[in-house]
């Protein structure tokens, strides 16, 4: 354990392999210390938030997709008012407007945040590294079909591509198409075939053989 700080709210800072050395990292630590010592939030609240963030994962999105495929009324609510619909499943991103876009035979949706890396982290966990890369952010808005092809998604011109740039207060998820050959599957079985990339839109066809029994 580091013994650089021995007062209680220092314990929530968990160093990686090195101590912070950059000005920005030190400034961040100093700001955090001030916010806690001035009572804006407590170290315990910070720990709980970090814990909740760690527990969020793409599986949550998979559960939403599977329920939407098996419950048309829920799907309707999810597409029309995602922020409130996901509360039924025990998730909550309010006051963020959680917005779900459905892929169809004639539409493919893909999500990006060109300005930074906005992502529904509280629901889906950490975003993939490529989602934060300048390459993806700059290119998927202006040549989405080329970028999608690099991810293995080949789209004909009969499929409309809709790019959603998450520039402000909304967070997005794609509802992938239910794969063929899954008639009669339970929501749990269905959730197991949904991938993180399908929820972002960089995967279109889900592989039903990828599920481990």
């Amino acid at each position: 354990m580091s013994d650089h700080h021995d007062h209680d709210h220092a314990r929530t800072f968990q160093p990686d392999h090195t101590e912070p050395t950059s000005d920005a990292a030190l400034l961040g630590l100093a700001l955090r210390e001030l916010l806690i010592s001035d009572g804006h939030y407590t170290a315990q609240e910070e720990l709980r938030m970090m814990d909740a963030m760690q527990k969020a994962s793409p599986h949550n999105g998979a559960l939403l997709a599977a329920r939407a495929w098996t419950d048309p009324d829920f799907k309707h609510r999810l597409l029309n008012d995602g922020a409130n619909a996901i509360k039924e499943m025990g998730f909550n991103l309010l006051p963020i407007e959680f917005t779900v876009h459905e892929n169809t035979d004639s539409t493919h949706n893909v999500i990006v945040c060109t300005l930074c890396s906005c992502y529904p982290r509280g629901l889906l966990g950490m975003s993939p590294a490529w989602y934060k890369s300048k390459n993806y952010r700059a290119r998927v808005v202006r040549e989405p079909r080329t970028v999608l092809k690099e991810f293995g998604v080949q789209l004909g011109n009969d499929v409309e591509v809709r790019v959603h740039d998450s520039t402000a207060e909304l967070r997005y998820m794609v509802l992938p198409q239910r794969p063929r050959g899954t008639e009669g599957w339970s929501a749990e079985q269905l959730a197991a075939v949904v991938t993180r990339d399908a929820l972002i839109g960089t995967q279109r066809d889900l592989d039903i053989n990828a599920v481990a029994d």
Binding site: V141, E169, L170
Partner: protein, 95 residues
């Protein structure tokens, strides 16, 4: 401020501004005309959050733009769209 100035489906132009404060309007979308796809809630302005609490809270919209309009050399379908969130004070009515 609570009544939206723009209606669903209305044609609007995204302002082109060179401002020295933080805002959330990417350069590629500035100056372009699109349609209101969704009327969202009221949120603090990025420009005033930097020195306060985001007042006045302002209407947010989702604006749908044609890719072939955004990028002159766009090679995909003419039906391809890009939807983006823009605050009301960055929008003006367009024909």
């Amino acid at each position: 401020m609570s009544e939206p100035r723009f209606a669903l489906g209305q044609r609007v132009r995204i302002a082109a501004r060179d401002v020295a404060v933080h805002h959330r309007v990417p350069a590629y979308a500035q100056g372009h005309v699109g349609t209101v796809e969704r009327i969202c809630g009221l949120y603090g302005q990025p420009e005033t959050y930097i020195h306060g609490d985001g007042q006045p809270f302002t209407r947010l919209y989702r604006i749908s733009l044609a890719q072939t309009d955004l990028w002159p050399d766009y090679s995909g379908s003419s039906r391809d769209r890009l939807d983006i969130e823009i605050f009301e004070h960055w929008l003006e009515a367009s024909s």
